[in-house]
């Protein structure tokens, strides 16, 4: 026990050297600890933000971009897709639930997400203040949005086009805050939620005087300039219920934030007609969560036993044959045909699978047979983590090297002071300490420096994580929990400390007391 204390006081007696060794250990260790923490936090954070979304359907382009823009709300959207086409997917038998998203605007850097209430509820169903939005141009704020902008229930604001803090302002369309979410430690904290209709309404109007040129925005949405959709004058139903906003109806272009002209050309020709259907879907934003209601209705109406038995099979998670699938799809096709095309566009549709079979079938089906793209959040984010991983690996290698250098530093320190220390070691031996004890004394010094460096490393990594601005999105950073990997780091550092102290310790072990003392006396 006294050897431990002695080792400790030896370290304290040479503060300069000790601090240098400690610092080197701490710097190397903190980089590793920081990377481990960041890795863990990012993975956890991403997992939380995936919210069990199985598939994202959006415009063709980079699948990673689609996931980043529509799930993590980080990148720019790939483009737009037809609401009606997306809805058809929502009615696919393998789909349990679907949520449409319309993006494109922001308020002071916070993205405004057009989506039914079920979307924010994926992340956080606790309204801290106020209530959920019901009508167009009503919003619910994420917790951080409210904190940082100072907006509260009852306040109003207008969004800007694009995702930057400044941009073209939609000054004609005032959003009203209906509620604020509780803190949820996920992406919802930094988003503003509004019905999909709000986004349509804002951008329909926008198109009337589409004279601004947001270069930055256009860059990501190459087709922003081609809004040649003719006169798709088909929103009377929707706008009819939005009192006081009818003035936009007459010359509307049904233009959404990021329209793809390809789609516009393909499908808009037949769109000028569906007031009745529209009224139905648009009355309630929740209706956009299409849960195969149409199919159930069909069953009642027609009594089609085959379809209902297929439906039953799907519900029970049984396999269905190819014929049954085709029959069912044909039915769904026919069924949605009746609903007609709204001509509306959304940015992405989030799909939730009914059965595991969908993992294989749906992405293929969508990518091969539609003009849209389907991307799996899990797969894409794994890809992203692998890309990031390379940089992490280099940094990690550097950190291991720094730790080895700190080991060398300890080695040189102990060895260079060993001559000086020899007299003390001889004294300890004379006082009754065995060779093994003086061996331990040196070894413990290496261990103590490593332990101190490790603690410094943990502290540094947590401090830097909370202070560095770029990492503010990582929640719960300053946790006192030590991760499993950090215990391995401790083992590595202690091993380095022991190896560094080993040769000096062996020299101390082999000290010839007689020789050291006589040399000392005869000097």
């Amino acid at each position: 026990m006294y050897i431990l204390r002695l080792a400790f006081s030896r370290i304290l007696s040479k503060p300069g050297n000790s601090i240098l060794s400690l610092l080197l250990f701490a710097i190397g260790g903190s980089i590793i600890s920081f990377l481990l923490l960041a890795n863990q936090q990012i993975e956890e954070g991403i997992k939380r933000n995936l919210a069990d979304i199985d598939l994202v359907v959006g415009a063709k382009g980079s699948p990673l971009q689609l996931i980043l823009s529509s799930v993590l709300h980080a990148d720019y959207p790939t483009g737009n897709i037809s609401l009606d086409e997306a809805k058809k997917l929502g009615q696919h038998p393998l789909v349990e639930k679907s949520i449409p998203l319309a993006l494109g605007d922001s308020y002071r850097g916070f993205r405004i997400i057009g989506a039914p209430v079920s979307y924010p509820q994926l992340y956080n169903d606790q309204i801290g203040d106020g209530q959920w939005y019901e009508k167009s141009l009503e919003v619910v704020l994420g917790y951080q949005v409210a904190q940082k902008t100072g907006l509260k229930t009852g306040d109003t604001f207008y969004g800007v086009h694009g995702f930057q803090e400044t941009g073209h302002a939609h000054e004609d369309h005032i959003y009203t805050v209906k509620g604020v979410l509780q803190y949820g430690a996920n992406i919802a904290d930094n988003l503003i939620f509004t019905p999909v209709e709000s986004v349509w309404q804002v951008h329909d109007h926008e198109h009337d005087h589409d004279s601004y040129d947001n270069a930055e925005y256009d860059q990501s949405h190459h087709d922003h300039g081609h809004h040649d959709h003719g006169d798709h004058d088909h929103h009377h139903g929707e706008h009819g219920k939005n009192d006081g906003r009818n003035e936009h109806d007459n010359n509307e272009h049904d233009h959404h934030a990021n329209i793809q002209d390809q789609h516009a050309q393909n499908s808009h020709a037949e769109h000028d007609h569906q007031q009745s259907d529209h009224t139905k879907t648009d009355k309630d934003p929740h209706a956009l969560v299409v849960q195969n209601e149409g199919i159930q209705k069909f069953e009642k109406d027609s009594g089609n036993q085959i379809i209902s038995s297929i439906q039953q099979k799907i519900d029970d998670g049984q396999d269905i044959s190819k014929e049954e699938m085709e029959l069912y799809l044909a039915y769904v096709e026919g069924n949605t045909e009746k609903q007609k095309d709204s001509g509306r566009e959304i940015t992405a549709m989030l799909l939730f699978y009914r059965s595991p079979a969908a993992h294989i079938q749906l992405p293929l089906l969508i990518n091969d047979t539609t003009g849209m793209q389907a991307a799996s959040p899990v797969l894409q984010l794994n890809r992203l983590m692998k890309l990031l991983g390379f940089g992490f690996d280099m940094l990690r290698l550097l950190a291991w090297v720094i730790i080895v250098i700190s080991g060398i530093n300890i080695f040189v320190n102990l060895l260079s002071h060993l001559r000086q220390l020899m007299g003390e070691i001889a004294l300890l031996r004379v006082l009754g300490a065995s060779s093994l004890k003086v061996f331990q004394l040196l070894l413990y010094q290496g261990v103590f420096l490593a332990l101190g460096g490790w603690m410094g490393a943990l502290l540094l990594s947590r401090l830097s994580g909370s202070i560095l601005p770029g990492f503010a999105f990582l929640q719960n950073w300053f946790s006192l929990d030590v991760q499993t990997n950090e215990w391995f780091l401790l083992l590595y550092m202690i091993a380095t400390g022991i190896i560094a102290a080993l040769i000096p310790a062996i020299k101390a072990y082999n000290t010839d007391v007689h020789f050291t003392l006589t040399r000392n006396t005869n000097v």
């Binding site: 002695l6 007696s13 007299g423 006082l431 009754g432 007689h514 003392l517 006396t521």
Partner: protein, 211 residues
Amino acid sequence: MANNFSINNLTYRYPGNKYLEFSDFSCENGQRMLISGSSGSGKTTLLHLLAGILQPHTGMIMAGETRLDLLSSSGRDLFRGKHIGMIFQKHLFLSGMSIYQNLVVAQKISGKKIPKKLHYLDEILVKLEIDALRNKKPEQLSEGEQQRFSIARALANQPDWVLADEPTSSLDDNNCEKFIAAIDKVGKDIGWIIATHDRRLKQYLAKIYSL
């Protein structure tokens, strides 16, 4: 009789086949013995053999009831820690620690348990008149003070014998007298074996062993 120190037919072989032979002696409990001889005559070697730092080639070393020459290296370390204190010509100490901490460490290393409530170390510090310096670092002391501190450390484990190697050769007459006075004061019941060529000490020591 239990604490006699004696050697019998003792020889030591240096690396390189140089032999040293020591004539027998027996030093009784509480007796003071001076080992005299010129430089290089083997005073320090004998002292280190007695302390168990060196292992004899042949012969017997009896320390009390213990055959020191038969003990293993670590056995001799243990024995030394419990029963022997040493003083050197050159002052050795653990740097970065106060006088008192040095004494505490010495006591701890010895493995001997001396209850703190006996205030044994305090008593020694007072007797040696270095109590006021207890929180100073050894390197801050004067030559004489350092030598008295060396005595204090040699006594920290309540030894049966103190072996001193040229303890006074760097001291002036005044400090030399003080050294003798000090061992009179604190080392009455202890056997002192002092290897020196310092003639000043001869008058104070009852027994002289010449090499």
